[in-house]
């Protein structure tokens, strides 16, 4: 049996006296959509930051395809094939949408700087090939019309979509989405759901996402992990998690009858 794509083992993260995550373990299966939910401050984003290398665990291990990857830096994690988006949208605001998405290809580019400078031969062909990939993603996410617009000028919903496009440009094996639908209206949410499912179905990309909208989570995820106060309180199929006593308590408050 091959090792799962990603394993988080007994990970704790402390900032001084504050424990953001406490002995959290979870497994991301290849090709599946995993949702991480939980009340505000439960440690969801911290968990995503640990997986993508922005934070390092105080204790515990992170395995990528069975290999210990606990202390990698964000660029190294990106090199492994993990791409992510951010809760507050981190786009390159001064660059056009096209350039933003092209930056997602940086890790795929190689070859001589000299040739690139001269824009000649293989370098030129390479640039065109990357451009073709990016154009496919632009078509896929239906953002053709805003190709040349500076990213900073776009409305929030579209910025989130461009951020997803940049992450997809890296052709990731694991895609981490931090609240991909926050602040969106109903139609935008439906579009985003469709894109996430399509990415998963067409490219076989494994997706781990944080989301607050419960109906969205129940609809699109294969598995759900619930965090509360930095601890994992449930992990299972959406329909099971929905009925879980601890989850209901965390979301609705404990009844003392």
């Amino acid at each position: 049996m091959t090792a799962p794509l990603l394993e988080v083992q007994q990970v704790s993260v402390r900032f001084g006296a504050l424990t953001a995550l406490s002995e959290v373990s979870l497994t991301v299966e290849s090709g599946k959509i995993l949702a991480i939910i939980g009340p505000n401050g439960a440690g969801k984003t911290t968990l995503l930051n640990v997986i993508s290398g922005f934070y390092h665990p105080t204790a515990g291990r992170i395995l990528f395809e069975g290999r210990d990857r606990t202390h990698l830096s964000p660029p190294d994690v990106a090199e492994l094939g993990v791409a992510r988006t951010f809760q507050n949208v981190a786009l390159f605001k001064g660059m056009s949408v096209l350039d933003n998405i092209m930056t997602g290809r940086l890790l795929k580019m190689n070859g001589s700087f000299l040739l690139e400078a001269l824009y000649w031969g293989p370098a030129r062909r390479q640039e065109l090939a990357h451009r073709a990939v990016v154009e496919r993603i632009i078509d896929f996410l239906e953002i053709q019309a805003i190709r040349k617009t500076p990213a900073g000028r776009l409305p929030y919903g579209l910025q989130k979509r461009v951020e997803l496009a940049r992450a997809l440009a890296a052709e990731p094996r694991l895609l981490l989405l931090d609240e991909p639908m926050a602040g969106m209206n109903v139609e935008e949410k439906e579009d985003m759901c469709r894109f996430i499912l399509d990415v998963n179905a067409e490219f076989g990309t494994s997706i781990t996402l944080i989301e607050h909208d419960m109906s969205v989570v129940m609809d699109i995820s294969d598995r759900v992990v619930v965090l509360d106060y930095g601890r994992k309180i449930a992990d299972g199929l959406p329909e099971h998690v929905r009925k879980d006593r601890a989850v209901l308590d965390a979301y609705l408050g404990v009844s003392h009858d």
């Binding site: 660029p75 990106a78 001064g94 690139e116 000028r153």
Partner: protein, 312 residues
């Protein structure tokens, strides 16, 4: 009234026409000075592009590089070896700056990074003088400070060499940072540190690269200015002339630094010679700043800078 207008708008151009050789000399002097300004401005642009930091210490880096070079040569080292060691020192400096100053301040507000470069400025100034002393030093690069005539126009050998070196260096860097993937990575890093990290750009490497390049550019600028006017503290003030160049060209544009430098260089020389007498001279010292002020009013992003986008 008409006399004053005539003196301001027509007279100077008549003077230019009446002695073309002299006009050419003034213009060439302006181009030479402009290329030198570009060289200093380039150091600013690279660091600003890569880290969004306005490096207050760029001028002192020019001084420090020149001091190190002269200091080594005074101790009897051959020029080539002294140059290589100075280059090594500037790269080491870049590594140290990344490790000690930049890395602990990742994701801090820009003003904090700016303050850090002010600290760096005073440290380098003091450290340089502690190592090499504070008296004015002569820098002899082996090119005679003499002139020759081409078609009746006097050209200074030293200035010509400096200008050509500056032009070549600036072109190479401009092409490198515009066309290669490093250029794209630089713009990304300048815009958003976190996002840049997440797409696999190693921030630390990029910073060491740009600070090293800025250090190497400082060596060249230090040699050129030092050979002309001696290596002394006032070298670090050259950086002040780079400010209007940056405002004109745009803080984020390598070609902008070149064009801005040329405009300022030619503008101040022509202004001094042809318009200076009208107001009693000494235009050269403030012309650049007035031009920059006008630009700030009408085109704050400069000629080639990225449009400033602010969503409210």
């Amino acid at each position: 009234m008409t006399e004053a207008l005539y003196a301001l708008l027509v007279g100077p151009f008549k003077d230019m026409g009446s002695s073309p050789a002299f006009f050419a000399e003034v213009l060439i002097g302006g181009i030479f000075a402009g290329l030198m300004y570009s060289l200093v401005a380039l150091g600013f642009v690279l660091i600003f592009k890569a880290s969004g930091v306005f490096n207050f210490a760029q001028g002192v880096m020019v001084l420090f590089a020149a001091l190190t070079l002269v200091g080594l040569m005074e101790r009897g080292m051959p020029v080539a070896l002294a140059l290589a060691i100075t280059a090594g020192v500037m790269i080491l400096l870049a590594l140290l700056i990344e490790r000690i100053v930049l890395r602990p301040l990742v994701n801090q507000a820009q003003i904090i990074l700016f303050m850090a470069t002010i600290g760096l400025n005073f440290f380098l100034e003091g450290f340089g003088e502690m190592l090499w002393g504070s008296n004015v030093k002569r820098l002899d690069v082996g090119i005679p400070d003499t002139s020759f005539k081409v078609a009746g126009v006097l050209i200074n050998r030293l200035e010509l060499t400096a200008a050509i070196t500056a032009a070549v260096l600036v072109s190479i860097l401009a092409i490198f940072f515009q066309r290669t993937r490093i250029g794209r990575a630089l713009r990304a890093v300048a815009d958003d540190h976190e996002a840049a990290l997440s797409i696999g750009i190693p921030l630390k490497t990029i910073w060491v690269v740009v600070w090293s390049v800025a250090g190497l550019v400082a060596i060249v600028a230090g040699i050129m200015w030092g050979a002309k006017s001696g290596v002394q503290f006032s070298l670090s003030l050259v950086a002040l002339k780079a400010l209007p160049v940056l405002i004109l060209g745009g803080f984020t544009s390598v070609p902008g630094a070149v064009v801005g430098g040329l405009i300022i260089g030619m503008g101040e020389k022509l202004g001094e010679v042809y318009w200076g007498p009208l107001v009693g001279g000494a235009i050269e010292n403030w012309f650049a700043y007035v031009l920059a002020l006008v630009f700030l009013l009408f085109r704050p992003q400069g000629l080639f800078g990225e449009r400033i986008i602010e969503r409210v």
